[in-house]
Structure formats: structure tokens, C-alpha cells
Amino acid sequence: MLTLLFSPKWFYGIDIAFEIISIIVALLISFYSYKLYTISKKKEHKYFHIFFLMIAIAFVFKIMTNFDLYFDVLQTMQIGSIQVQYISKSLSTIYRFGGLFMYRLLTAMFAYGLYMLVNKKRDRRDLLLFTYFIIVLAFLSYYGYFLFHLTMVMLLGFVSYYYYINCKKLHTINSRLVASGFIMLTLANVVFAVVELDLVLYVLAEVLQLAGFCLLLGAFISVIRK
């Protein structure tokens, strides 16, 4: 049987709250990038807006899938004085597969899109080839949780490296926050990749991911409040 649920029971719902915060941060960055695009008319700004919108939608899919999984585990039935906890089959496996597939597809496209953007890669053949690989990855990672996260570590690792160089060049607090944010997101994926070892690792990965988005929020607020 495939393991889809790695969260400790006490953490049910808390991770959903973490994801909601990440959605808000991603949407703020996405809409600000769109505002920037309306003035600059640069494709890079439009793509940046789309990629952050993608990660926000990806988290919506993750929340929907997790909510369904938690609901199943927690569903109880009262038979006389006996309370029975059972696994509901009300929502099909296809729904979960679809939810996880969309979450992983959009997350991988976000990471790959940023990788392309920061490395100034514009070749359409590369784009088509990698889009195909990302779809295959999202499909196959249903059967191998770590596969998806290892790929994310690679992509976000390169993005983090770019932001680290950018930070060294600019020496500003904002650039430090952005670089730290992406390093945190990379580390979160390292932990997500080995989450099967212990349920507590899932909590650690979620905390690192939240920290990553909070650092990006810090950079965003710092820019806006100037």
C-alpha cells in the first residue's frame, strides 16, 4: 500500500495553516510582480507573477488532498456505546492521485520556472523537454515520494545559489532575506525527501518551508514599506 500521509496526528491542521500562510505570501509576490509587469512590460516579470501564482495554486491542491486524507483518518462512527474509527472510501483514489499530481506538477513548474528565469534560459526546446520531464516526474512521484523532493532540491538549490550570488553582489538586507528564504525552501525539500524515516521530520520540513516563505514575506514587506 502506498503511504500518502506522513504527518503526526497532532500536527493535522497545523500544516494546513502553514500552507495557507505560504499561499498568502506567494499571492502577494505574484500580484506585486504583475503590477511591476504592467509598467515594465517585461516577460520576466510576467513569468515571475505566473510562477508564484502556480505555487499558490499548488498549495491549494495540497491542502485539498491533505484535508481529504485527514478527514478519512479521523472519521469515526458510533455504534451503540462503541466508537469505531474507520477509513472512509467516500472520495476515490483518483481524487487523491489528481490532487497530489497537480500539487507536484505546479510546484515543480514553479521551481523549474524560477531556475530558467534566474539563469536567463530562453530555448523553447529546453522548455518543452523539461515540461515533459516535469509531467513524468509529477506522475511517477506518486509512487516514490522522495523522487519529487530530490528533484526539487536540485532545482531550488540552483535558484538558491543564484540568490546567494545576488546577495553577495548587492549586500542588502532584502537580498539576504530572499537568499535565506530560498535556502530554507531547499532544506525543507531535503527533509521532505527523507520524511519516511520519522514522522517528526514532516513537522521539521513544514517548519522550514514556512520559515522560507516568512523570509520571502520579510523581504517583500521591507521593499513595500520603504
Partner: protein, 92 residues
């Protein structure tokens, strides 16, 4: 702008508005042209667009034409500075 590459619209508009701001809101068009590093044709194109959008205006100072920021223009300059900072921080 990175590595001396082509400037984008935000950089050019920001350079125009910063020049007007530093020249106490009464900038000579030629100063703007030199400081923003624009050709006369390009500068006129930007002027037309910014005047249409109510960001800058042509004013008469002792019989000489000067360019100044409108109230909306000052607000827009603040917004552009934030955008530039966002672009740099996020490596765009």
C-alpha cells in the same frame, strides 16, 4: 540593469523621474536627456507617455520650458523606487 546590458522601461522612467526630482522639480529637458542617457527621439516618446499619464508636466519658468513632476508623479516615483528594490532583491 545587470552587467551593463540593455536597460528596461522601469530603469529609464526611474532615471527620468529621479533627474527631475534631484533638479528641484524644474529640470531642463536636455539635462534629463543626458542624465537618463537617452536619444532626443526616445526622450520625446517617454515625455509624451508620461505627460499623457499625468506623471510629469511641462511648466514655464521665466519664459523657459522645464519639466516637473505632478503630485501623481511624485507618488509614482516612490512606487518605482520600491519596484526597483523588489526587482533587485528578487534578481529580476
Amino acid at each position: 540593469m545587470r552587467g551593463g546590458g540593455r536597460r528596461d522601461r522601469v530603469d529609464v522612467i526611474l532615471a527620468i523621474l529621479e533627474t527631475i526630482y534631484t533638479e528641484r522639480n524644474e529640470a531642463k529637458p536636455t539635462h534629463i536627456m543626458y542624465k537618463a542617457n537617452l536619444s532626443h527621439k526616445l526622450m520625446e516618446g517617454y515625455f509624451t507617455e508620461l505627460i499623457e499619464k499625468g506623471i510629469i508636466e511641462k511648466v514655464d519658468v521665466k519664459g523657459k520650458m522645464r519639466i516637473s513632476l505632478t503630485g501623481k508623479g511624485s507618488e509614482f516615483l516612490r512606487e518605482l523606487r520600491k519596484m526597483k528594490s523588489f526587482m533587485q532583491s528578487f534578481g529580476l
